[in-house]
């Protein structure tokens, strides 16, 4: 038996936009065990809930992560609104759905680019990010912010999208579809991508279930679990169907995300079609009292926002369970037994969002 060595991976590493540290126990080129250590992005923002007004805290909740920003703020608002029994206007629910799906599109395009980069496929990285800018343009036009939108409020959203803008968004989406099709075709058919991803980083269905994987990681292993099927916001009106693949390898997880972009486009188109008129914000008075778990589907999987309040203007507790944390045990399982050269690809397939995970 050859000698084992420990190779540090991170926290500062070219494929990682964010810091996470893995100690890889190697035997020659094979990874025997991966030991993650976290804490490089921990800010302790849940504690800030004791210092900030529950309405101001929406902006802190949005800054849990700059990629999943909109969905964090919407889920936090959903939790507080449920505690306070606020009836959110239907148009605001639709707008939240539209912006959530745009966030998913930009996050998945970002991921496809970073994933291509982890295989050394720089051209594909550039093309994914080129398309992503079109999504960011729409977010900037409609909300004012590229990555941090800041439009969610307790009681609705602060901005409406006028009908002519909705029509323009719908036209642009129709034009985006063939471009996305061309991009995802490369991920599906290219021999380079297939060699680097097929039968690599295997996660069988029962292991995904036992380890509590969420989002595209568990949907790539054949488990149909997507919080959007629970019908929060306006998803109950939009005939949503989750995308599921059964191979459980890096390729399957990549295909899940690629197909989800098309499902996001059709969700936005349906939402633009069916959006009702009316107000987008109701005034909210008083302070919350009670507790609630709000669940939503982020680009990376299921997120849970727990709030507990006792009738004061500051909440007692805000707790977030983010998808990346749920996927780290699955990542450790995937890394055991893989080749060292595949580590960046496998780490990327869980779409690690350390900002979310550590808060």
């Amino acid at each position: 038996m050859s000698k084992q060595i420990v190779l540090p991976f991170g926290p500062q590493h070219p494929v990682l936009p964010e810091p996470i540290h893995l100690d890889l126990v190697l035997e020659d080129e094979r990874v025997i065990e991966a030991v993650p250590s976290i804490g490089y992005v921990h800010r302790g923002l849940e504690k800030l809930v004791e210092k900030r007004d529950y309405k101001d805290y929406v902006f802190i909740a949005e800054r849990i992560c700059g990629i999943c920003s909109f969905i964090h703020s919407a889920t936090y608002c959903h939790a507080v609104e449920t505690v306070m029994e606020v009836e959110v206007p239907r148009r605001a629910e639709y707008l939240r759905t539209i912006w959530s799906e745009y966030s998913r599109l930009h996050s998945h395009l970002l991921w496809l680019g970073c994933f291509a980069d982890s295989m050394g496929y720089e051209n594909l990285f550039m093309n994914s990010w080129r398309l992503r800018e079109k999504i960011l343009d729409v977010l900037e036009r409609t909300t004012g912010g590229r990555v941090i939108q800041g439009v969610c409020r307790v009681g609705g959203v602060s901005r409406d999208i006028p009908p002519e803008e909705l029509a323009r968004m719908s036209r642009e989406l129709a034009g985006l579809r063939p471009e996305l099709r061309e991009l995802t075709r490369v991920f599906e058919e290219d021999i380079t991508v297939q060699t680097r991803t097929k039968r690599i980083g295997l996660l069988p269905k029962d292991a995904a279930w036992d380890l509590g994987a969420v989002g595209p990681v568990c949907r790539g292993s054949g488990i149909s679990s997507d919080m959007r099927s629970t019908g929060y916001a306006a998803y109950d009106d939009l005939d949503f169907k989750p995308v599921v693949k059964s191979d459980g390898d890096c390729y399957a997880r990549c295909l899940v995300r690629a197909e989800e972009m098309f499902s996001s486009i059709s969700l936005i188109e349906k939402a633009i079609d069916r959006i009702p008129g009316g107000d987008v914000l109701v005034p909210v008075k008083g302070n919350p009292s009670g507790e609630f778990y709000a669940r939503a589907e982020q680009p990376r999987g299921e997120v849970i926002h727990y709030v507990k309040a006792n009738g004061k203007k500051n909440l007692q507790r805000h707790r977030v369970r983010t998808p990346t944390l749920a996927n780290v045990p699955a990542l450790v399982k995937m890394l055991a037994g893989c080749e060292l050269a595949d580590v960046p690809v496998i780490v990327l397939t869980i779409d690690p969002c350390i900002g979310c995970m550590e808060r």
Binding site: Q12, P14, I60, C65, G66, I67, R130, E133, L136
Partner: protein, 147 residues
């Protein structure tokens, strides 16, 4: 123009940021903004880097990592703090784990505020950093020491 101004290499590190500024730093490298056409390259190796682009308010665990990267970079070097968190701690200033700005750990030359900092302002910050880099190089050549 010197070789540094023609092709400065940057190293990017996320020191407890929310990701917003980091993806905007990456967006600078991609086709819409494309700073690579000016010869600006993103490197993963501190020993190859001239400009340290750093985001986030630096938490306790990151302090050593940030110092380590900074010390490994050869002189002359410039530090660009991107985003309001890197400038002053931003909305996270009151968090128990945040030191409150990059300048509490290493000297900063250029501040780029914004939440999240826009790619245009990040590029502007890097262009200003080129001037600082040139000044530091001239000072080094004159034997005035390193800063």
């Amino acid at each position: 123009m010197s070789y540094l101004q023609k092709s400065p290499w940057i190293i990017h590190y996320d020191a407890s940021s929310c990701n917003g500024c980091d993806i905007e730093v990456l967006a600078c490298l991609t086709p819409l903004y494309d700073v690579e056409r000016f010869g600006i390259l993103n490197t993963g190796n501190p020993k190859h880097a001239d400009i340290f682009v750093i985001t986030g308010g630096v938490n306790e665990m990151n302090k050593e990592v940030v110092r380590n990267i900074y010390e490994q970079m050869p002189h002359p070097k410039v530090v660009v703090a991107v985003g309001i968190c890197a400038c002053s701690g931003g909305v996270f200033r009151e968090c128990y784990n945040i030191s409150g700005g990059v300048n509490t750990v290493i000297p900063v030359d250029i501040y780029v505020p914004g939440c999240a900092a826009r790619p245009e302002s990040i590029i502007d910050g890097i262009v200003q950093a080129l001037g600082v880099l040139e000044k530091k190089k001239t000072a080094m050549l004159r034997g005035e020491g390193i800063a």
